[in-house]
Amino acid sequence: MAKGKVMLEVNGLRVAVAGNEILKGVDLTIRVGEVHAIMGPNGSGKSTLAQVLAGHPAYEVRAGTAKYDGKDLLDLKPEERARAGVFLAFQYPVEIRGITNSYFLRSALNALRRERGEAELDPMDFLQFLEGKLKAIGWDDSMMNRPVNEGFSGGEKKRNEILQLAVLEPRLAILDETDSGLDIDALKTVAETVNKLRNPNRSFLIVTHYQRLLNYITPDVVHVLADGRMVKSGGPELAHELEAKGYDWLRDAAMVS
């Protein structure tokens, strides 16, 4: 496969939260259309990487760069990154009381459409648009008129993140441990949906602790993050190796090197 254009290029990224350095110099290059998986033990900095790319204000960038389409990503506000096509499926989606999923999604979509100079969708148009999107991923609209994530089960919250991904159609989708807390059926549904949403113009960065999600979504590249550094990268087979051997051998390697 001919290599596509670079979409995201992270160099020497060092990030601290509450004064503790979590990422200690991370490099990562994602090309247009590629699916990358980042694996690693708890506390290795996987979620920090996801959050900092999305612009969470609690994370302090100490050094390094992140370029998205050649532009300085770290210089953009979270909403500007979102409008430029960066989407984060949250590990812990928050609840927004009294606001229906449908209203929330329409507001978000319209914010993106305004950015692209497209006309905003009124509730009727949005409903039609939504029906199409739901149909494409084979989901029903049962979540749409409930308040955002309020009273949702853990699995429903994660599914809701994927639904938002389907509607907002980002160019770079970051999935932060979307598989955690899902039973096997829900995991399959989510994975199948992600596969349907893969396309040559969209890249994915999938953060996961376990290999099981990667049984259903085959990544182009697998990275291992340990103690704030990328310690190994490889093809999909690396995930299987990790499943068999655990992380310790790599962590030891990281310490030694």
Partner: protein, 477 residues
């Protein structure tokens, strides 16, 4: 940028002053001033006597200091109790209203000129101490609905006014109600006859303009048997460094099977971020469900005033009567609010619902204070109360004082309360989906207030949503 912090707020948009020649009575309060006000209003003797009785009561009373608010002493002799724009004594049509007044209300979004009126809403516009225009009076009269300034009603419908005035809020009810009874200048009077469903939303817009004055309006609404009326009040004032006193009294009477829906969008000048200036809003509002199966519903959106002291309540006298209170109170900067309701259950199978949403930002202090009292004869009474507080930032406060007094063992009471904080994570979540931080806060707050906003008449729900956005603009960093 880390953390959520209060910073500069969007300036108050209604803070302009209308340059108009006014007649202002010199500051101070005495029996002579009351006689003067009564004479200016061309009042009958009984009204003057009533005022003087209230004044003599007031002299023996002291200002209440139990609310959870702090402010310096008020000098009641430094306030002017009457201010009115100079105009012709009798207004037969809008042509005679000073165009500056029409422009003022237009600037506030209140159209009183015929061709620009909001359809379906009749407006009484009160400027300082007088009503300057009341729209749709003639149209309403066709249905027998009386909607006019109370000063006019005292002259034209003395039998109705005398029958109901101070039957819900006695003149010595409290310090501010007594003061209001002594010096009230204008306000609205509504009477809806038997079986009539008032065809328009009625609304009064109160504007304080003159400095060093207080506004003391009085509203009396009577819904006769089987009638229905929806009434809305709005208000605003110029930005001034001094505090101005607003002490209103509102009385509602619902007879058998009548329904009164009373909504308030309160946007008095709140003062600046240092707490300079702003209105002291000390208001007594009470409704009496006098008849069987009657219903009174209060909805309030309180975003303005330096200090709010207000407990719109219901006396549920008629059997099966219903009282409701839906409230959103916002305090930002150094605003303080002590607000809630009183539901007094007297009749059998009476029901009350209380939904209170308090939002505190900046250094605002927000107190919910509510009383639910079930009297001995109130067999089968029910109450449901829900008090939710939301905090924005870490320098504000939320307080809840629910009082429950049950004297009949058949009562069913439910009380729910919650306190939440708009978190960085909530805002980040919405920003990550493309919304600006202002839109994110507005969405979270509107979701929080939804149960109250849905009670507002449609035209005003939009206004309330917008106002809430403005009040909190910039309060999240």
């Amino acid at each position: 940028m880390t953390g959520i912090e209060a910073h500069v707020q969007q300036p108050y948009k209604y803070g302009f002053v209308t340059d108009i020649e006014s007649e202002v009575v010199p500051a101070g309060l005495s029996e002579d001033v009351i006689r003067l006000i009564s004479a200016k209003k061309d009042e009958p003797e009984w009204m003057l006597e009533w005022r003087l009785k209230a004044y003599r009561n007031w002299l023996k009373m002291s200002e209440p200091h139990w609310p959870n608010v702090k402010y310096g002493p008020i000098d009641y002799q430094a306030i002017s109790y009457y201010a009115a724009p100079k105009q012709k004594p009798k207004l037969d049509s809008l042509d005679q209203v000073d165009p500056k007044l029409i422009q003022t209300f237009e600037k506030l979004g209140i159209a009183i000129e015929e061709q620009k009126r909001l359809t379906g809403v009749a407006v009484d516009a009160v400027f300082d101490s007088v009503s300057v225009a009341t729209t749709f009076q003639a149209e309403l009269a066709k249905f027998g609905v009386i909607f006019k300034p109370i000063s006019q009603a005292i002259r034209e419908h003395p039998e109705l006014v005398q029958k109901y005035l101070s039957t819900v809020v006695p003149i010595n009810d409290n310090f501010f109600a007594a003061l209001n009874s002594a010096v009230f200048t204008d306000g609205s009077f509504v009477y809806v006859p038997k079986g009539v469903r008032c065809p328009l939303e009625l609304s009064t817009y109160f504007r304080i303009n003159a400095s060093s004055t207080g506004q003391f309006e009085r509203t009396l609404i009577i819904a006769d048997e089987g009638s229905y009326v929806s009434y809305l009040e709005g208000c605003s004032a110029p930005m001034r460094d001094e505090h101005q006193l607003h002490a209103a009294v509102v009385e509602l009477v619902a007879l058998d099977r009548a329904t009164i829906k009373y909504s308030t969008i309160q946007n008095w000048y709140p003062g600046d971020e240092e707490g300079r200036g702003g209105i002291y809003n000390f208001v007594t509002k009470r409704g009496k469900c006098a008849g069987v199966n009657s219903k009174i519903s209060w909805t309030q959106v309180e975003t303005g005033s330096a200090i709010t002291w207000k407990y719109p309540g219901c006396i549920l006298q008629g059997d099966n009567s219903i009282g409701e209170f839906y409230s959103v109170a916002v305090t930002s900067h150094k605003q303080q609010a002590d607000t809630g309701t009183k539901m007094i259950h007297l009749g059998k199978n009476t029901r009350s619902t209380i939904v209170s949403k308090g939002i505190s930002a900046g250094r605002g202090q927000n107190t919910y204070r509510g009383l639910v009292k079930i009297m001995k004869g109130a067999e089968g009474a029910r109450n449901y109360s829900q008090c939710d507080s939301m905090l924005i930032g870490d320098k504000c406060g939320a307080h809840t004082f629910p009082y429950i007094d049950v004297r009949n063992s058949t009562a069913i009471m439910e009380h729910e309360a919650s306190t939440s904080k708009i978190g960085e994570d909530q805002i980040f979540y919405l920003r990550q989906r493309g919304l600006s931080s202002e839109d994110a806060v507005s969405m979270i707050v509107n979701g929080f207030c939804k149960e109250v906003f849905k009670e507002l008449p449609m035209e005003f729900a939009v206004e309330a949503t917008r106002l809430l956005g403005i009040s909190l603009e910039g309060s999240v960093g």
